[in-house]
């Protein structure tokens, strides 16, 4: 890693990618089968198998990368490619969440007011939904027979506020761990990462708690109209990302224990930290746009 090489390292032929694509297509086929055939287990098993293959592929693939790195096959330039790769991957995630925030914006500012008769929606309201009142958060749907009304919406100042604090402090701990890497302080790295993983898990725990509260007490479900829909999809996808990030941090933690990272070679650590910060920023937007406003 230290000597800048003239030739670029091109990895040799590899079986991991084909395993990944087969895993993916199996998972997809399994998922569809499971959706259509509720009483057959077959689809579910296929989904599981595909997923397992995918996970195995990821482990194998990253192991190859780690070995190649340990064998000092990579130059600075290769590392730079990885950086670009991760940065643009995160950008694509931004676009993905952007779509869902776009839905939230559209529902609040266009479709709901329109159905409730503002602007050009006078006749829509008058002829089709005369009873409907467009108040956000939507607790009374235009057609409550199809989309059951929730009892109430989710407030901002209980669990969500705590979760905001948790994620914000996790950003601090992960940065602290990063300083540890830069100064080669093992203990600081391990403690920082452990704290971050702990905070991440705590966040997930609270979110699960919040979901149960929503379903059981507020009767706020993913199927209770556009508010529930957007609430659960946005927080749900975010939650998945937190889970992913926590997993990544855990792996990075074990690798730190093994002493994989040095002050000038720890890209895997940095990539995970970027990802974690991204997840953090998404949460802040969520907190503001879904809960507060």
């Amino acid at each position: 890693m230290h000597a800048v090489k003239n030739t670029y390292y091109v990895p040799s032929a590899s079986y991991w990618p084909i395993m990944g694509s087969i895993g993916l297509v199996m998972a997809a086929t399994g998922a569809v089968t499971a959706l259509h055939n509720h009483n057959s287990q077959y689809g579910f098993y296929l989904l599981l198998l595909g997923f397992t293959m995918l996970v195995a592929m990821l482990f194998g693939w990253f192991r190859s990368v780690i070995c190649e790195d340990a064998a000092e096959l990579y130059s600075r330039q290769v590392e730079q490619s990885f950086r670009w790769g991760m940065a643009w991957f995160i950008f694509s995630e931004v676009a993905f969440f952007g779509a869902f925030f776009g839905v939230l914006f559209y529902a609040r500012n266009y479709s709901v007011p329109w159905l409730a008769g503002s602007g050009d929606g006078v006749m829509t309201h008058h002829l089709l939904w005369p009873e409907f009142q467009g108040v956000w958060p939507l607790v009374e749907n235009p057609d409550p027979t199809k989309f059951q009304n929730p009892k109430w919406y989710m407030g901002a100042w209980g669990v969500p506020a705590i979760n905001t604090l948790i994620l914000l402090s996790s950003a601090v701990t992960v940065t602290w761990a990063h300083w540890g890497v830069l100064q080669a302080r093992r203990l600081q790295i391990i403690l920082g990462l452990a704290a971050t993983v702990l905070l991440g898990s705590l966040f997930l725990y609270f979110q699960a708690y919040e979901y149960i509260h929503a379903y059981q007490e507020l009767e706020l479900k993913i199927s209770s109209g556009i508010y529930g829909t957007i609430f659960f999809t946005l927080t749900g996808f975010h939650g998945l990302h937190v889970a992913m990030g926590t997993l990544m941090l855990t792996v990075i933690g074990f690798r730190s224990l093994k002493g994989h990272f040095s002050p000038d070679n720890h890209f895997a650590f940095e990539a995970t930290a970027w990802y974690w910060h991204f997840v953090d920023v998404v949460w802040l937007c969520l907190f503001v746009f879904v809960y507060c406003l």
Binding site: L115, M123, T124, L127, L128, P142
Partner: protein, 365 residues
Amino acid sequence: MFLCSSLAQAAYRLDLSPGVTEVSRKIYTLHHMVLWICIAIGIVVFSVMFYALVKHRKKAGARAAEFHENIWVEIGWMVVPLLILVALAIPATKTLLFMHDTEESELSVKITGYQWKWKYDYMGDNFGFFSELSTPQEAIQGKKEKGEHYLLEVNHPLVLPVHQKIRLLVTSNDVIHSWWVPAFGVKQDAIPGFINEAWIKIEKPGTYRGQCAELCGRGHAFMPIVVVAKTATDYQKWLSEQKLASLTIDLSSRTLEWLQREGKAIYEKNCMTCHQGTGEGVPGAFPALKGGRVATGPIKQHIQTVLWGVEGTAMQAFKEQLNDVELAAVITYERNAWGNDVRVQHNKTEPLVQPADIQSYLKKQ
């Protein structure tokens, strides 16, 4: 290019129609303006190109020049198109604003798209009807001569008065359709759950034809629109006739044969696109009625399915679309066709439904 100019020459056959409303004429003018501007730009650009291709061939001894930049030329060919675009945008904006002015209409018609027919409701007069393709299946299948208005003819055209500003309230009962009559310059998507507005002011009595313009499933090609524009007096006459006609339906009992015969015709018009002539449906999309659970089961369930449809599926409610006699007929037909009568007997349920049964079912609701 030569193709472009041939377009203009044969304009009478190949072009938009100027139509019979002010909007459609404005659109027509705009269309020609932008078309001719494009043709003109095309002539200039392609002339230069072909000049170069002929003059600066290597074969003709051309030697390549050195230039590859000229800031002023480049600014020029950014600014000139920009000006042209501004010149186009001004009339386009004006026309658009004109089109969006729905104030002060004298008559409102609600237009609802169904798979695959239109429903017209005259808002002030509290009556309405369905309008669907009247071209016979045999003509479509090529077993019969195709008439002049093949695929552009309906059983009940929309009748409108001329010289009145009419507001159209367009919506849909199932999927997205689009109500389009070229001669009026109106194309408005019918979105389920929303109402879109448009307006027309027809200038000439006559018959105007259009089609559904948004893919809406299997019968998308088969849901035409026909509008008959009448003078104010003719329109009033038509209106009163309609109101009379809708009052008189004979609800007395019919024979099994009569119901089956009438039911078959109604089935072919309303149900066949999905459930097929053989009653076998399309696997995975439309269930078979031949030997079907509902069509050979308890009568109440059958009536309910046809009257109210099945929520969230393509099976629509026919209560508004067919009158009680027709409903009785089509249900009776389904219970006896394709050998269903055997199953019906085996299930020990009634093969016959009378208009009165429909009425008593509705009363119990």
